[in-house]
Amino acid sequence: MTAIFRPRPTLIFLLLLLVLVFWLSLALGPVSLPPGDTLLAGMRLLGLPLEGGDTQQAELILGQIRLPRSLLGIAVGSVLALSGVAMQGLFRNPLADPGLVGVSGGAALGAAIAIVGGSLLGGLPPAIEPYLLSVSAFAGGLIVTALVYRFGRRNGQTDVATLLLAGVAMTAMAGAGVGLFTYLADDATLRTLTFWNLGSLNGASYPRLWPLLIVTVGVALWLPRRAAALNAMLLGESEARHLGFDIERIKLELVLCTALGVGAAVAAAGLIGFIGLVVPHLMRLLVGPDHRVLLPASLLAGASLLLLADLAARLLLAPAELPIGIVTALIGAPFFLYLLVRGRS
């Protein structure tokens, strides 16, 4: 058998898991809310006029802090996982990472320019600073990915091997740029930059959430339309072309979805590694390689895993908070090694 579990029950299980983790992520935190209060406050936030206890504090914590944070976690986790599926399909390699086309490196450079450049100019007005950082990171990811894509084009075709190498080279160049800004930074800026590079859902707010949410919904609606083409591409590019697919267009769409998705995720929450690599891989083991199931499964599992990682980041050292990138790397890297060792035997 190719899949361990049947697709439909697995998807339902993953959906229920996400609902549970979402609820935990709303209920747990430095101020623990009783489960009943969480539910009641949540209902009231949705506008339901319910009778009962006083949930004013719960409503405030939920509505202003935990709900945007949890929604941000869902969006970041699912869009990173979907981008991972897209890149693993594009490179026909189950160990491809969404950062391969240079988007993470470019976004990191964009963020470094905004953080360090801003402080060198004598500090930006606090009102626009967070937005400038997000916009600059998003733009950096898009620009570097566009360059990588441009290098991968030859005679009207995209050569994925060249694309991969160009991605590695451009990521290295972006890394050098980040290094330069790190060197120029003063101590306080350095701290901001370092923490940003480790990723965090901390300080989530609705203005930061909406752009990412829109991109995530777009990617989540678009990629499943390409599930059949992604399946055919695993046979080989020419085989997929002989099956009638416009492969050059599909490749562009996959790179674009990844650039927008990862760019927006990094802009909103910093660099969070391994979700895009590990989640599609794990889901492929559970439901098989068919993208019609793999895409929704990865979306649900990516969201759950990121929320769980964020819970761990919040609770392990409470009231202090670990950067989430440390948690995902701590979970992800050993798992990746396990897959490598398992694949070899």
Partner: protein
């Protein structure tokens, strides 16, 4: 009908294929023979639009191949490459089912067609297995079933291009698979098959094209193409040619 007129393919400054005028006729199996590097796979690449031609044109049903919308072309033209790089754990059923992607024939009909195509390629017993667990020859038969499913049941106006479909098969399957391809052609499809085994070509092909350094050396029925002179000139191989005692086609024996 797939037709190539005055085809010329260059790679850099080198001409790798020239003077090709062929027509794949309904119900006929055309075998392409020639030594390594003679241009057989280049010809197949040019015929399916994979390789750009420097001169000449390829047309499908009197319309240039490049003008066909992908999906419509895929319903008429299926291609089996020499080898596959599929590295994901699809089941055999799923791999063959991909042949049905250009069609909208519905899940029930597709399931039937997948089973029939697998049966034709003598791979029905592999249906539920993981593709990655198969041997090279089994994988080759599964991919043949996939391209058969793409054109199933096979009718006039359809074309099947096969690049060495028997290269990894045991002797029995070399025969059963080529016989299945013949039967498929008999329902109306045109087939082009690249082969290395001269006796298999003599037995299962209606027409043969013998290539030498990118040029056609001979084009015609097996008995006219497979001569001692032609094989000595193209392969540098000294052979005896006899008649098959039961079937009458040429039988090539190396001296």
């Amino acid at each position: 009908m797939l037709r190539a007129n005055n085809l010329l393919v260059r790679r850099g400054n080198r001409t790798v294929l020239a003077n090709i005028d062929i027509e794949l006729r309904p119900g006929e199996v055309l075998g392409v023979l020639g030594p390594n590097g003679a241009g057989k796979s280049t010809l197949l690449g040019a015929l399916c639009g994979e390789l750009a031609t420097s001169e000449g044109r390829v047309s499908l049903d009197e319309r240039p191949l490049a003008d066909w919308p992908g999906q419509e072309r895929a319903k008429r033209l299926a291609v089996l490459p020499q080898s596959s790089s599929l590295n994901f754990a699809f089941s055999v059923n799923e791999v063959v089912g991909m042949g049905r992607l250009p069609h909208a024939s519905g899940r029930v009909r597709d399931t039937e067609i997948v089973a029939e195509a697998l049966k034709t390629a003598d791979a029905l017993h592999l249906a539920g297995r993981s593709y990655l667990a198969l041997s090279g020859g089994e994988r080759q038969r599964v991919h043949l079933a996939r391209v058969l499913a793409q054109l199933w049941p096979g009718a006039e106006g359809q074309t099947l291009l096969l690049d060495e479909p028997t290269s990894m098969l045991d002797p029995l399957h070399q025969h059963t698979i080529l016989q299945a391809v013949r039967d498929f052609a008999e329902r109306g499809a045109a087939v082009l098959v690249i082969l290395h085994d001269l006796n298999l070509a003599a037995r299962y092909c209606d027409q043969l094209l013998l290539l030498q350094q990118g040029l056609p050396h001979a084009y015609g029925p097996p008995a006219e193409v497979l001569t001692t002179e032609a094989l000595a000139a193209v392969y540098g191989l000294e052979v005896l040619i006899q008649q098959h005692p039961e079937r009458g086609h040429p039988l090539i024996i190396a001296r």
